[in-house]
Symmetry: C2
Subunit: 140 residues, 2 copies
DNA sequence: GTTTCTATGAGACTCATTCTCATTTAGGGG
DNA sequence: CCCCTAAATGAGAATGAGTCTCATAGAAAC
């Protein structure tokens, strides 16, 4: 991956050091486009022999989220999930209540309507959460 | 409040007993249309002299949510909020990132588009979370 | 290489929520 | 009204995701 450049750029900008652990966490988040929780990232790294602690995984994710390289998702089960956000196309999520499967959707009309709602309420919109919960076609 | 009837009906339907604690939690949730967390409900009841435990507050809310009398909100700060849902008009939320103020919104067009998205993905839609985060007019 | 100052790891800690289990209570007979 | 039994409750222990602490390791500057 050459997205390492992006990581270096961001760390440099904040006067943070480029370390093997920060690289490893970012690589792991780039290696799949899944919705990963912190523990699974921690375990994946440990299992591939990388010496890292949970604290560092959390601390690194924190930095990545702050710099918009990673998006934090809350699926309502008490564990945050993270997805690599370098691929810049915005999307929201459909979540199956039975099997947990996650599908992504984009709807420009909804996006526009959201902006109108915010405007009407005089809110300066920064982000949104839009999640549809139901049963996927295999679970109905 | 005469919504006590609704509580009795639901408890009866599930062969659960009508207790003073369950009544108190439900009353408290009806007494304001706010977005309350479990601790504030617990404290409000204790302060008005009602003998109840945190466990019972949580257990009762669980029943109320299961029976659609209460909606659970997740504002992303690690504490669930609850709102009385007897007043049946559905709404979603605008949340101020600075002062925490919550405004409600309804947009029938968005609701319709959501259904279309679910249909396109062959999901049987059960519920959704739609939250807009930004800065309210006082905080900008 | 030495200095300096940030990053890390291990494990303690926090805090919302859930669980356990001994005790109390609701509610249907008698 | 009282009894009986299963369900509900309270107190506090347990859980689990996430954060904090602090001694040590390692990067960057000199």
């Amino acid at each position: 991956m050459d997205d390492i450049r992006e990581l270096k750029r961001v760390l440099h900008k904040e006067n943070l050091r480029y370390t093997s652990q920060r690289k490893a966490v970012w690589d792991e988040l780039c290696s799949s486009s899944d919705h990963r929780d912190a523990e699974s990232i921690y375990l994946a790294l440990r299992n591939s022999g990388i010496r890292v602690s949970r604290a560092t995984v959390y601390r690194t994710i924190e930095v990545l989220v702050r710099h918009n390289m990673v998006r934090r998702l809350d699926l309502g089960d008490g564990r945050s999930r993270y997805e690599n956000k370098l691929d810049p196309k915005h999307h929201d999520h459909l979540i199956c209540l039975s099997c947990g499967r996650i599908e992504e959707f984009v709807d420009p009309d909804i996006e526009k309507l959201q902006e109108k709602v915010a405007e009407k309420h005089q809110f300066a919109l920064r982000k949104h959460i839009h999640q549809l919960f139901g049963y996927c076609k295999d679970c109905q």
